[in-house]
């Protein structure tokens, strides 16, 4: 009987140990995100209910990084968006940080385009900060 108990304990150990390792692995390995994907380029102030950044295109035009993003409104009402661009250099440092928040009215079910031009040739990356009054956050 004593031997059976020990066997059971060993059996539990064998089952739980890999499970624990698996759970631990899930917790520590960060989810890989493509640095050029839309979620990697967009910073939301709260979760936007109806607006979303549906497309982003970026191109260096004669030394300055030019970014164009498409905003889609899935609601049947017009939605107000606030947005700004954040520019980063090759090392990830913020450049300037003086882009103003800009308002944009997105009509019901429509798509609107926003543009941004890097302030200096040193800017090689960007983030688009977006907020809508229906969000939990507000600039």
């Amino acid at each position: 009987m004593k031997e059976t108990n020990t066997k059971r304990k060993r059996h539990h150990f064998v089952i739980f140990t890999p499970l624990l390792f698996a759970l631990n692995a899930c917790a520590t390995i960060p989810t890989a995100q493509n640095p050029n994907s839309i979620p990697a380029k967009v910073e939301q102030l709260g979760e936007m209910s109806y607006l979303r950044v549906s497309n982003i295109a970026a191109q260096t035009r004669k030394q300055l990084l030019f970014v164009q993003a498409e905003i889609s409104n899935s609601d049947s009402d017009n939605q107000q968006l606030f947005y700004r661009f954040k520019w980063l250099d090759a090392h990830g440092f913020v450049i300037g940080n003086d882009d103003p928040w800009q308002p944009l009215l997105v009509y019901a079910g429509q798509k609107q385009t926003i543009n941004g031009l890097a302030p200096t040739p040193q800017a090689t990356d960007f983030r688009i900060l977006v907020s809508s009054p229906d969000n939990t956050g507000n600039p």
Binding site: Q102, N115, L117
Partner: protein, 204 residues
């Protein structure tokens, strides 16, 4: 008895410490009244008059458009100056604040140079005259007649249309800018930035 004395001493010491910590200012902020610092880049919609967001949006849009214009890209670091931007609106707008912001944004790019404008010319000539007054070493004085003439000048105007219907007030602003070749007089670039602001003045 000694125990009671030591306990009461400890209580007094503890309360004094708590009191002192409570009195100490934990943040470097001397506050009085309802004054608070806010985000200077935030969208401002306090009233429908020309505001900081309008100024920032106009300057951003115009500097972006100018920096992408083929004419400024054709020459390496062209020299530009800012002429007058006339205010044709019904309200007071400091147009120099708009052009100063546009100039700062363009200078920051490093792709354009700016010559002193007419408002800064007096300071420039005064400085040159002072340096050539005989008070300074000749070798270190900046020479007269070495100033560079700008290749282009920026000028324009801001206009507005105001309409009221019942409780609704609608204001439409339009800033027009042109880039003019100083030698040929040709308008090489022009752009407009429009802003519409509508407010409901209903009291209830």
């Amino acid at each position: 008895m000694t125990n009671i004395i030591s306990k009461s001493t400890a209580i007094i010491a503890l309360s004094t410490t708590v009191l002192l910590i409570g009195c100490a200012n934990q943040t470097p902020n001397l506050q009085s009244g309802n004054v608070a610092y806010g985000d200077s880049q935030a969208v401002e919609t306090l009233t429908n008059e020309f505001g900081s967001t309008d100024l920032q949006s106009i300057a951003q849009s115009m500097s972006n458009s100018l920096l992408q214009s083929p004419v400024l890209r054709a020459t390496a670091r062209p020299l530009v100056t800012v002429a007058d931007v006339k205010n044709h609106t019904s309200e007071y707008i400091d147009t120099k604040a708009i052009t100063d912001t546009i100039r700062a944004k363009m200078l920051k790019s490093g792709l354009v140079r700016f010559a002193v404008d007419t408002s800064a010319m007096k300071n420039q000539t005064d400085e040159l005259i002072r340096q050539n007054s005989g008070l300074y070493k000749k070798s270190q004085s900046k020479k007269l007649g070495q100033m560079e003439g700008a290749d282009f000048r920026i000028e324009g105007s801001i206009t507005s249309i105001v309409k009221r219907a019942d409780d609704v007030k609608d204001i439409y602003y339009k800033l027009s800018l042109q880039l003019i070749n100083n030698e040929s007089g040709v308008i090489e670039w022009a752009d407009e930035k429009e802003i519409r602001k509508t407010s409901n003045q209903s009291m209830f």
